[in-house]
Symmetry: C2
Subunit: 182 residues, 2 copies
């Protein structure tokens, strides 16, 4: 059994999602967002991310940590801010020994939705479906859960996703058209 | 009495310097560099910075933390790496309650050498002189000590620096000519 913590770090909102993988099945554990007010000072902002993730790590003791691999397309000032938030999240997430893996955004979408060009909304819908959630998870939390799903998919070679994606119509029809136009 | 921890974070080398300020006098406490091998994985690299600074904070219990304020002139990928290292260092440095201040590079050089256009070597020489060190501190450690001196200079309005700078010939002559040509 593995407990995977997916993190989607950001200077304002850091999403997190925990999924248990056991005997080829995914079990939703927890997810949420750490929101940081911009007016706080830098040490305080980074401390909130660090404390938030530390609390989760302490509570759920994840064995693996997964984050999106960044190929910087943003401006240098944004990259600096993202880097600081990412540093805070990764340190807190790996403190108790969870092993870090990084995945490209395209690979995460591919693993969750079945296409690397999926929209944010498609990721939310597939995450809801795959984890049998009663509500659509918020964007950042859904992204974090998607990263965790990608990690489990990569490491445990689950074959369930493409079937689900077809059931939801992502492989053709309304959703795939959206993708083609994007 | 204040104990100021200056940090010059970097993804490969993070410099640190501790200075005690008491009754208008500067007392060197400690300085050094945390070197991180590039081949290690990201979580491990950030963990080394975090652990290194945490150890120092635990040992010397600084009351104040000072880092260089970054106006990003670097590329976005460099900014991301620097941001991650900076996040790790700031969290570790402020964990026990030290208050963070940030200073522009120009202001640090102004405070230490007397001119915002000072060279790295001039900063090293002035740091050595101001703290009565027996050896020239290494570049990153000297920068970190310089940041701490700048913080003390800003908060405690010490008048000793301009005199020292003149004694060392930074205000005119060989060093200032170097500056003008730079």
């Amino acid at each position: 059994m593995a407990i995977v913590l997916g993190i989607d770090p950001g200077s304002r909102i850091t999403g997190y999602g925990l999924i248990e993988s056991s005997s080829g099945k995914l079990k939703y554990v927890a997810s949420g967002r750490i929101k940081v007010a911009e007016k706080k000072d830098l040490a305080e902002r980074l401390g909130l991310i660090y404390d938030g993730i530390s609390e989760i790590v302490h509570k759920y003791n994840p064995t693996e940590l997964a984050v999106e691999k960044i190929f910087v397309s943003k401006s240098a000032p944004s990259a600096l801010k993202l880097g600081q938030a990412r540093g805070a999240a990764i340190i807190a997430g790996s403190r108790q020994g969870a092993i870090l893996s990084e995945y490209e955004a395209r690979k995460i979408k591919q693993a969750v939705v079945g296409t690397g060009a999926a929209t944010k909304n498609q990721v939310q819908l597939m995450v809801k479906s795959l984890l049998a959630l009663s509500e659509l998870p918020k964007e950042d939390a859904a992204d974090a859960l998607g990263i965790a799903i990608c990690h489990i998919h990569t490491h445990f070679s689950l074959g369930f996703i493409s079937g689900k994606a077809k059931t939801l119509g992502f492989s053709r029809g309304r959703y795939s058209q959206k993708v083609e136009k994007a």
